[in-house]
Amino acid sequence: MKSKNIKNVFKEGPISSEFIGNSIYKHQSKTSIGAHNIFLGQVRADVVNGKTVSAIEYTAYQDMANQKFHDIREATFNKFQLTCMHIYHSLGTVKAGEICLFVFVSAPHRKVVFKALEYVVEEIKAHVPVFGKEIFEDQSHQWKVNN
């Protein structure tokens, strides 16, 4: 297996605002940082044919996904001068309004964090094998596709 030293990016259920706040707090001891940029993916209550999405149930090919997250992380550190980067993705049920993706990049100066964050998020959307089942209020479902 390739999964040596590969972090587990997944968290069961939604990512709480307390977790995010605490993650920000932990970076206040890193006084070389001047700029943080955070992306949060939140589950939308989309209406499809009159039915409203109430939650997304996430599954993943976890070994491959963690490998891809690792590769994205390495590529991002190679491309951009970042001080640190953190990625968390939900598995299982995340209700509408709850957060399913948390990407956090930090650097001494701001310009690089904008480019780095967008790069990371687009790479995740394109290359990480995560699957989302959109559950409607009547318990029917459809499969989410990134665009």
Binding site: Y61, V130, F131
Partner: protein, 77 residues
């Protein structure tokens, strides 16, 4: 060859299982796909990519014996 195959997302609605080990004859990924489409006719209606040993592969990639996975469209984030 005995190959372990994993199914994800919408694929599981057709296979009704998340993993199985199958005997595959032939030496290309295309041969795996043929075996699977024979066993699960509805697979032909679904879009998916195929990974071998956690890397996306094409139909003419050689079968290595490593784990194969059928991956429907990604929906992370």
């Amino acid at each position: 060859m005995q190959i372990t195959i994993k199914y994800f997302g919408q694929i599981v609605e057709v296979t009704h299982k998340t993993e199985e080990t199958l005997e595959v004859s032939g030496n290309q990924i295309a041969d795996v796909l043929n075996t699977l489409q024979t066993k699960y006719i509805k697979l032909k209606d679904l879009g998916f990519q195929i990974a071998q040993n956690q890397e996306l592969v094409s139909l003419n990639t050689k079968i290595s014996g490593a784990e194969i996975a059928l991956l429907p469209p990604f929906a992370g984030g």
